[in-house]
């Protein structure tokens, strides 16, 4: 029986890019001013009036083959429960190699602690008995799903089984666990 593998699914069909996820994450996780753990990415292609648009809410991909974990010299970046990529701020020297190593730009230096920070999949909520991330809980279009990719009955598994999806920079070798439904 495999242990859990936590991942996230974002439905780009319903995501309107409102940033409720961004604000909720900031208040839930007491993220300081000037930095953010998640964000909205919008892409428009075509020439007026033949246009198409893609909107998605993004954050750390909690890669299975995380270059940030590989490069960390102190072990501050490590794999936590369910393969969540975590940062132990006590061990972080702020060398920023992980920031340079992340192809997604998902990490940043927390100006209050001078250590590196990023999305934690709200694991503290999971540990306290709430199996949803703050962004998932607030999303008014219900576009965010968090769950166990190793559980075939979970929402994330069902959605990935039934709809076309993609990950970001699939050729970077990172094996991200954040999926985007087309």
């Amino acid at each position: 029986m495999k242990g859990p593998s936590y991942g996230m699914v974002l439905d780009t069909r319903t995501c309107v890019g409102c940033s409720a996820c961004v604000i909720a994450c900031k208040t839930e996780n007491d993220v300081p001013d000037g930095v953010t753990r998640n964000w909205i990415f919008t892409e428009v292609s075509g020439t007026y009036p033949d246009l198409s648009m893609s909107i998605r809410s993004e954050r750390c991909n909690h890669c299975e083959n995380a270059p940030c974990v590989a490069v960390c010299p102190t072990g501050a970046s490590y794999y936590g429960a369910g393969g969540t990529v975590k940062v132990d701020a006590d061990k972080c020297t702020g060398c920023k190699a992980c920031i340079a190593a992340c192809p997604y730009g998902a990490r940043f230096v927390d100006p209050r602690t001078d250590t590196v920070d990023k999305c934690t999949f709200c694991l503290h909520r999971l540990e306290n008995g709430t199996p949803t991330t703050a962004c998932q809980e607030i999303c008014p279009t219900q576009s965010i799903y968090f769950g166990d990719l190793n559980d075939p009955e979970s929402d994330v598994s069902r959605l990935l089984a039934s709809r076309a999806s993609y990950t970001l920079l699939p050729d970077a070798g990172t094996r991200p666990k954040h999926f985007f439904l087309r």
């Binding site: 309107v16 009036p49 503290h124 008014p140």
Partner: protein, 748 residues
């Protein structure tokens, strides 16, 4: 280490290294610290409802060590269902805004100089009462007016009704959704409601006319919008701009600004001539079908094509999609519809279209709302007010309109030899200079006032011009009246304070009562405070008070929503039927059926572009642009310029420009250009709410362009007085050019 190893590490990727790393790291996990808890969960969680916009979503405010740490949605609330838009989630940014009004102030310098003296509540309230009584003594209570926007305004409306003034106005009427409700009332006998009575979640085809849901973040509307997408319904979006909603649409119709009515009429033509409308429904419930049929007979898609810029084939195709999904086809009534001054007729066309599709009262269309009745708090009856509201120069104008905010404003201006009919304003939560069109007129009116009192939370522009400033506590610090909206199900939600008011701010309920006492109206405020007021109401209705306090919401019994569920069709129109033809309008001298008049909407002059405005999802007009939490995502607005137009002007993406309108008014500040394919070449687009000039808004001041400055011209809807504001045209001034010469003076 040999060279081969280098190459393997370098070119074969990180697999081997990562496996090693992963194994090693899992070993280290045993020594890793436990999950760090940001500890934002509250010691107390207080259910209430939000006031970042006017939807009133149920929230849960987490309070820890006397501070609100975060705000979540209240799962018990039917409007939010436990989910919030970004503004609601960012309410702490308002509560802890460092620029909040802290103490009552009385003006000491010239009006507009923003020189105030902080005074006690007693002194401030006495000043207000004296001022109001002085005006009343000389000119009567009808020389006083109240502008109100926001739920806490109810206490002041009560005060004014008790005082006997007829001039109570909400800018949300003539500056926003007034024409829509007039159009729907003329057709169905009922407005579109707030929350809108749209059954989007069940719509098989959803048509948005200029509505930009997803950027307009009315929570329940966006939730329903997402549900309809999830359910696989077809989406048709008609908008000169490729909005977020357009990005999800099966059909985006990039309509020429101002031509929506032509499209709606052409759709009616297709539905009727091809027999695609709901015959039984129309036969049973509608009046005036034959007249409508004759009216739209010549209004073919080919006729509409040059007027709208939409291909006739597309007009037919979309009409067929709409017909195929009926009666679960919803042509959304929209919300802010004050565009071109013919907005009642355009809204009526939308209503008629819904009628033809049979969606009114049907599943997937417009449902029948229900409302929980809660007993009122016993109080004396209001005095009869014989004076008419002074919101129009000529009483025969705008026969179906009421409480026109711009009219009250105009009535306050002294013209040659003629004294103004209104001398004093009380303004609750409404920043009039950026709300009413023609900002210059608003400032002229303010200069002519004898008394200007504002009740607000932040030092908005209107506050800087006031005589007396009364700082209200935010929604998180106060109790307000119960919310019992007409909605899919009857319910009541409670606003209760999560924390005590900061500084010396006071709840509006207290301010109104204290004013009432000083105006001799104590008997109209028999309650001790708002808490006692709502508790009395709840208990008198036989509802569970303790449960309401704990859950934030109590629901009534579910009521049928559609004719299919047993709702009895009834239309409060003159004919008692759906009026496709309106004898009432004909009798008043207006088109009985919406008619497209060529040339009614002018084209932009050469070198100018129509100024279109809208919303950003993180903001509620100018109310939230000082909220630093919300503004991190969207701090400054940009001018959307069509790529081809930008190329013609040699404007670069991100280059800063000023805008100048057709009346020569130039924006006070500059904004960056957003070169994009997403906007019609005849128009430019700005998000409303930026370009604050008030110095007290230390974050928002000088950020972006204020569209309200540029809306100097407006076209008034002759039926109900709504102010069409999409009738201004702007041209571009390079910031470098403007800064090089002496700055031109903004005409005030």
């Amino acid at each position: 280490m040999k060279r081969r190893d280098f190459i393997r590490f370098g070119s074969a990727g990180l697999t081997a290294a990562a496996v090693l790393g992963a194994a090693r790291s899992r070993q280290l996990q045993a020594y890793a610290h436990p999950v760090p808890d940001p500890r934002t969960d509250g010691d107390r969680v207080v259910p209430s409802f939000c006031e970042l916009c006017f939807w009133k979503c149920g929230i849960l405010a987490h309070v820890k060590d006397g501070r609100v740490t975060k705000i979540q949605g209240n799962p018990n609330d039917p409007l939010s269902g436990g989910r919030l838009c970004p503004r609601g989630a960012g309410g702490t940014g308002l509560l802890y805004d460092p620029d909040r009004l802290q103490r009552p102030m009385i003006r000491r310098g010239a009006r507009g100089s923003q020189r105030f003296e902080e005074v006690s509540w007693d002194a401030a309230l006495n000043r207000v009462a004296e001022g109001m009584q002085a005006i009343t003594a000389r000119h009567g209570a009808e020389a006083l007016a109240l502008y109100s926007h926001g739920y806490g305004g109810s206490w002041f409306e009560h005060l004014f009704k008790a005082y006997g003034s007829p001039n109570i106005t909400h800018p949300s009427y003539a500056q926003c959704r007034g024409p829509r409700d007039a159009g729907f009332e003329l057709t169905f006998g009922e407005g579109a409601g707030s929350p809108e009575i749209t059954d989007m979640a069940h719509a098989r085809c959803l048509v948005l006319i200029g509505s930009h849901l997803g950027e307009n973040m009315h929570n329940t509307q966006v939730q329903d919008f997402a549900s309809s997408i999830r359910a696989g319904g077809d989406l048709i979006v008609v908008d000169p701009r490729f909005s977020t909603a357009a990005g999800k649409a099966r059909h985006w119709l990039p309509i020429k600004p101002g031509a929506d009515l032509a499209l709606l009429l052409a759709w009616m033509h297709v539905l009727i001539t091809e027999g695609l409308y709901d015959r039984d429904y129309i036969a049973q419930y509608a009046y005036g079908f034959e007249q409508l049929k004759a009216h739209v007979e010549p209004l073919t898609p080919e006729w509409a094509h040059p007027r709208t810029g939409i291909d006739p084939a597309v007009i037919r195709q979309t009409a067929h999609l709409m017909a195929g999904a009926r009666p679960a086809t919803l042509v959304h009534p929209g919300r802010h519809v004050t565009w071109y001054g013919n907005d009642t007729q355009r809204s009526r066309a939308i209503a008629i279209l819904n009628g033809l599709l049979g969606s009114w009262g049907r599943r997937g269309g417009l449902y029948s709302s229900s409302q929980l009745e809660v007993m009122p708090y016993p109080k004396p009856a209001y005095p009869t007010v014989t004076a008419a509201i002074r919101d129009r120069a000529d009483p025969t104008l705008y026969p179906l309109g009421h409480e026109l905010a711009q009219g009250i404003r105009d009535a306050s201006i002294r013209t040659e030899g003629k004294e103004p009919g209104i001398r004093g304003w009380m303004v609750y939560g409404s920043n009039l200079p950026t709300t009413l069109p023609d900002q210059r007129a608003t400032y002229r009116a303010i200069q002519d006032l004898e008394l200007l009192v504002t009740v607000d939370v932040l030092p908005m522009e209107i506050v800087g011009w006031s005589d007396v400033v009364l700082p209200e506590a935010t929604y998180l610090e106060r109790w307000d009246d119960l919310n019992t909206p007409a909605y899919r199900e009857p319910f009541v939600s409670l606003r209760q304070a999560a924390v005590d008011p900061l500084f010396e701010s006071k709840p509006g309920s207290w301010i109104a009562k204290e004013l009432g006492k000083r105006l001799g109206l104590a008997s109209y405020f028999p309650w001790n405070d708002a808490k006692e007021y709502v508790e009395t109401r709840v208990r008198a209705t036989g509802l569970d008070w303790e449960r309401l306090r704990k859950d934030g919401t109590l629901r009534g019994s579910p009521q049928p929503l559609y004719y299919e569920e047993g709702v009895a069709p009834s239309f409060a129109t003159e004919s008692g039927k759906i009026e496709l033809y309106s004898a009432q309008l004909a009798g008043l001298g207006f088109d009985p059926m919406p008619t497209f008049h060529d040339g009614e909407v002018e084209d932009p002059p050469a070198g100018y572009y129509r100024l279109l405005t809208g919303r950003a999802p993180t903001h509620t007009f100018g109310r939230t642009t000082n909220n630093r939490l919300l503004s991190e995502v969207f701090a400054e607005n940009a001018v959307w310029v069509n790529r081809a137009v930008a190329a013609k002007w040699r404007l670069q993406d991100g280059e800063r420009i000023y805008l100048k309108n057709q009346d020569g008014v130039r924006s006070t500040y500059s904004a960056p250009v957003k070169v994009t394919e997403r906007i019609h070449p005849d128009a430019v687009y700005l998000v409303h709410g930026y370009g604050h000039t008030a110095k007290g808004l230390r974050f928002a001041q000088a950020r972006g362009i204020d569209d309200a400055e540029l809306i100097t011209r407006y076209k008034v809807d002759p039926i109900m007085g709504g102010t069409g504001m999409n009738v201004n045209f702007v041209t571009f001034l390079r910031a470098s050019d403007v800064d090089a010469e002496a700055a031109k003076e903004v005409v005030t």
